[in-house]
């Protein structure tokens, strides 16, 4: 039995490799490439789920499964795969999402037939799944970085898949550059850890890079390098996760990728940043000082609020979803930040609760965000546009997709009884109980973050009323939308799987929390699923006696039972009444046209006005009229919102770098004599330095 996770994991990895080759081998046979690559990916994902579940449900928590993937080809580098509880949890997240996306892709990539090479897409897709799985299971820093780079490169290739578009190429390059800034920080961080282990044990061999030896290494480190490592990892993994202000690549890159890839990027890829932070902050760096937790909590809060505010301003459906990823990463980090603060103040149980809240939101976000991106993909597939101002009326034309999207929208808006509500409930509980953990003024951070989380939740609900309402309801705003068709069966199955998982995670949280026990016992040496359930394990509780409970299944079931009330009133009063379909009231005009509907931009106008200090909205109106401004002949309207981080930070930075490089160019004059002098001066300096 103990070899089962091991075996299944190898099978999954092998399947991805095989799928990748199949994609490349069938370059000329689109159908075969599609079936083989995505079919194998589905099968591998299924075995991946099996491996993760077998590990998390069987065996004790401290036990890890490890084996060498390849013989050590390069001295010093061992391709060691090591599955521990944390890794297994993330492999589970990855595999469930990958299963749904791979099935969805079987239908979705048919849209590329004759246009793009499906084989290449399938090959890179499988390679990305492989690399991401390896990121979660790498056993040492070297192998981790190799997997991390393969993941970044394959993701870059997939983002630039439709490279004939200008927008796509720009987004791809932006992603590539920012991703590598992050990787640089991570490398430096690992070097600090490596140095610390070497100094502590005198061993600078391959063992100094292994994750097993990094465990609780922080306690042996001096404060300086330890804090430096924290910051480097926060920035490095923060870029991947898309925290504010390191986020601009995310809303640029995610929308332009093919939708199945976007779903994976937003659902899983940014979670590698979360994985890295969990791994480093909770496993490696040891007991945290106060300011770490405060920093992570503030970064999380700012990311959550700004993410959702910018999301509201988007009318590109996929871009809107991408900004929501920033928001949700923020919510996850709020849990982690609170957890670090509790670890500092010596409340391991509360730390575990907050960590569980963060991890729960991690899997929840993976599920509903992938679901929403798949829905957006189905819409894009059917209407060929991502612009919400050209959509509308799809609920009648694609009822099943609309239903799945609605479930995803309710879940991401943290509305009961679905999964987003459960994890935010846990976050609220940990923030609420945080107030009593210290007596310093710092404790006001907890309720204020809670209030910001409430703002985030309410704005997210507003945003998804807009996203769902404008896209799926009312009249179609263009011919494309009017002639939309329902998605193909495989696409619906993919969405259905994720919908089912969202509902399960929402209604049965106490069952799922058991899976997190091995993870928390590895990271904070506490298991909390028993404390978090009361009433025969049915009801989710806040972890402390009388702290509050919530029973989502009960809410759902009783909600259905209460339908008896309207039914009774119908029975007694309304049985004789008839239903007539009629036109919407049009104020006596000659009928409503789609142009009279509320637009996505109009919907978010009040919020744009209220937060105008942030958005700096600019609008331009040009009218042409003959006699009076009330009788306009033509009207041109243009509205913009400033992306503060791009215009205020990144563009000046970019200009500075360019200016600096131009100065540097003077050095490289092209004359041999000058170069010889440089070499000579360098030599002299080195000699002086050596003396």
């Amino acid at each position: 039995m103990e070899h089962l996770p091991n075996f299944l994991l190898s099978l999954a990895l092998g399947g991805y490799v095989f799928g990748s080759f199949c994609g490349l081998l069938c370059l000329r046979h689109e159908k075969a490439a599609n079936g083989l690559a995505f079919g194998l990916a589905s099968a591998s994902a299924l075995t991946g789920i099996g491996a993760a579940l077998a590990f998390l449900l069987g065996g004790s928590a401290t036990q890890t499964v490890s084996f060498n993937l390849l013989p050590p080809l390069i001295p010093y580098v061992q391709f060691a795969v090591r599955l521990d509880a944390l890794g297994a949890f993330f492999v589970l997240v990855l595999s469930v999402v990958a299963l749904a996306i791979s099935i969805f892709s079987l239908g979705y990539v048919r849209g590329f037939y004759g246009r793009k090479s499906v084989g290449v897409l399938g090959a890179f897709y499988n390679a990305l799944l492989l690399a991401t799985t390896l990121v979660f299971t790498a056993g040492n820093a070297f192998f981790f970085l190799i997997a991390w780079e393969i993941m970044a490169l394959t993701a870059y290739c997939l983002v630039s898949f439709e490279h004939e578009k200008d927008e796509t190429r720009r987004a791809g390059v932006l992603y590539f550059v920012m991703s590598h800034i992050g990787t640089g920080c991570i490398m430096l961080g690992f070097l600090l850890l490596f140095q610390a282990f070497g100094q502590a044990s005198g061993d600078y061999g391959p063992a100094a890079y292994s994750f097993e030896n990094f465990h609780s290494l922080g306690e042996k480190m001096a404060a300086g390098p330890r804090n430096a490592a924290f910051l480097l990892f926060l920035v490095g993994f923060g870029v991947k996760a898309g925290i504010v202000p390191l986020h601009p690549w995310l809303p640029a890159a995610h929308p332009v990728a093919p939708s199945n890839v976007s779903a994976f990027l937003s659902g899983v890829l940014i979670k590698t940043g979360i994985y890295g932070m969990t791994r480093v902050f909770f496993d490696f760096l040891g007991a945290p000082p106060m300011w770490w937790g405060a920093t992570v909590l503030s970064v999380g809060t700012v990311s959550a609020v700004l993410g959702v505010l910018y999301a509201l301003m988007q009318h590109d459906l996929k871009r809107l979803l991408a900004y929501h990823s920033i928001e949700n990463i923020g919510i996850i980090l709020m849990g982690f930040g609170a957890s670090l603060l509790f670890l500092h103040s010596g409340h391991p149980l509360l730390a575990t609760l907050a960590l569980v809240a963060g991890l729960y939101h991690t899997i929840n976000h993976a599920m509903f965000k992938a679901l929403l991106f798949l829905g957006a993909g189905a819409v894009l597939h059917a209407t060929h546009t991502r612009d919400m101002e050209h959509l509308g009326g799809l609920a009648k034309r694609m009822p099943k997709t609309a239903f799945f999207f609605l479930i995803g929208a309710v879940a991401i808006s943290a509305l009961p009884p679905l999964n987003g509500f459960v994890s935010e409930w846990l976050t609220y509980q940990s923030l609420l109980q945080g107030f009593g953990t210290t007596t310093s003024l710092f404790r006001l951070m907890f309720p204020l973050s809670g209030a910001m989380l409430a703002l985030t939740g309410a704005l997210a609900a507003a945003c998804f009323v807009k996203a769902f309402g404008i896209t799926f309801l009312a009249q179609p705003r263009s011919d494309h939308a009017a002639h939309a068709h329902e998605a193909s069966p495989t696409m619906l199955v993919g969405q259905g799987i994720l919908t089912a998982v969202c509902v399960f995670l929402g209604l049965f949280p106490t069952l799922f929390l058991r899976l997190l026990d091995p993870v928390t016992s590895q990271l904070t040496s506490h298991e909390i699923s028993n404390q978090l359930s009361t009433a025969n394990g049915l009801v989710l509780s806040g972890g402390v006696p009388d702290g509050g409970t919530v029973w989502t299944l009960g809410i759902a079931v009783l909600g259905v039972c209460l339908l008896a009330v309207p039914f009774l009133f119908w029975l007694f009063f309304a049985r004789g009444s008839k239903v007539r379909i009629g036109p919407t009231w049009d104020c006596g005009l000659k009928g409503l046209t789609p142009k009279m509907e509320y637009t996505a931009t109009g919907f978010s106008k009040p919020i744009r006005m209220i937060f105008k200090a942030l958005f700096r909205p600019r609008r331009e109106v040009q009218r042409e009229y003959d006699y009076s401004p009330y009788f306009t002949k033509t009207l041109r309207f243009e509205a913009h919102v400033e992306e503060v981080f791009e215009t205020r930070i990144y563009r000046p930075l970019n200009r500075m770098v360019l200016r600096l490089s131009r100065r540097m160019r003077a050095l490289q004059a092209g004359s041999i004599q000058a170069y010889l002098i440089y070499i000579f001066i360098t030599l002299l300096l080195l000699l002086l330095f050596a003396l």
Binding site: G450, A454, I470, F573, A574, Y598
Partner: protein, 314 residues
């Protein structure tokens, strides 16, 4: 786990009966205060029965979401009603969720209400939805902070537990934190129930309307459930306000005498609060939409001060 079915049924009936009456009273008293005769206080019952009997006209553009919305709004209001302690310290559904679930369920109802407003493709509905979601978004932090202030003092988000602590000896009625949180919640109440100065419940077909704009295309029994759900929501927010901050007179057991007394005290508290709402509605004019954030940020500041004072006066 023991679910008290009788309590659930009784509280459901009480909610269904009492909610329209409160709306009727507010409407009647407001008219009296403005030297009008106004509708009878029973008028909302007649309205609901009339709406239930009427035929429905559904917009040709609307989808199934339009038909689902009234039920979601109605049921979520009822569920909220069963989670808030009304007459007894123990709410029938206190196990199902506390303050956070209440806020979540109200948001669920609002979510579908706004979708129902967008669905018939009318510009009025979209406008109402957009404004409703905006105002809710800026009211939510104040609501959450005010609830947090009480929850921190009681050490729980469970409303029944909060009320129980409130009846205990450690609770100070005139605690400045609670007074400020009460004021903040009162402003949120005005915003959430669509009262002047945020929204005008008496308006129809004006460009200022919010809640009514979303209901414009609803008719027949859908309209009945929407209106009924809204009045239950209003009653629940008022109950939350009076029972959390003034937890006097709630029955600790289920004997007829104590329940009767509790009902009397509860009605008295609701009457006083409704009176306050009537006075506020009469002496104020409706604010311009973009002045509403000022009012709600005042609520947020009040709630923050409430929180600060729990920190200072502990």
């Amino acid at each position: 786990m023991n679910l008290d079915l009788i309590a659930i049924v009784l509280q459901t009936v009480l909610l269904l009966v009492l909610a329209p009456l409160v709306s009727g009273c507010i409407k009647n008293w407001k008219a009296k205060l403005q030297n009008r005769r106004g509708p009878r206080i029973w008028q909302p019952y007649f309205d609901i029965v009339k709406f239930l009997r009427k035929d429905m006209v559904i917009s040709e553009h609307a989808s199934w979401v339009f038909s689902a919305a009234p039920y979601v709004v109605f049921i979520s209001s009822l569920l909220v009603g069963l989670m808030v302690p009304m007459l007894t310290t123990q709410a029938p559904l206190s196990l199902f969720g506390g303050a956070l679930a209440v806020i979540g369920l109200l948001a669920l109802g609002r979510f579908f209400l706004a979708l129902g407003g967008l669905d018939p493709a009318s510009a009025f509905g979209g406008m109402g939805s957009s404004r409703e979601m905006t105002i809710a978004a800026i009211a939510e932090p104040a609501l959450m902070l005010a609830i947090f202030t009480v929850a921190i003092t009681a050490g729980s988000t469970d409303l029944s537990h909060i009320v129980a602590v409130g009846q205990g000896p450690t609770w100070k009625l005139l605690n400045p934190a609670h007074l400020m949180a009460f004021a903040a919640l009162f402003i949120v109440l005005l915003a959430e129930t669509g009262r002047i100065p945020v929204d005008n419940p008496a308006t129809h077909l004006e460009l200022t309307m919010i809640h009514e704009a979303m209901l414009l295309e609803y008719s027949g029994r859908y309209l009945a459930f929407m209106e009924w759900g809204a009045s239950i929501k209003q009653l629940m927010l008022m109950t939350l306000l009076v029972n959390i901050f003034l937890p006097v007179g709630l029955a600790a057991d289920s004997s007829m005498a104590s329940l009767g007394l509790a009902l009397g005290v509860f009605l008295f508290k609701i009457v006083v609060l409704s009176g306050a709402v009537v006075v506020v509605e009469t002496v104020n004019a409706k604010l311009r939409l973009f002045r509403v954030p000022d009012l709600l940020s005042a609520a947020f500041v009040l709630a923050t001060l409430a929180l600060l004072s729990t920190f200072l006066f502990q």
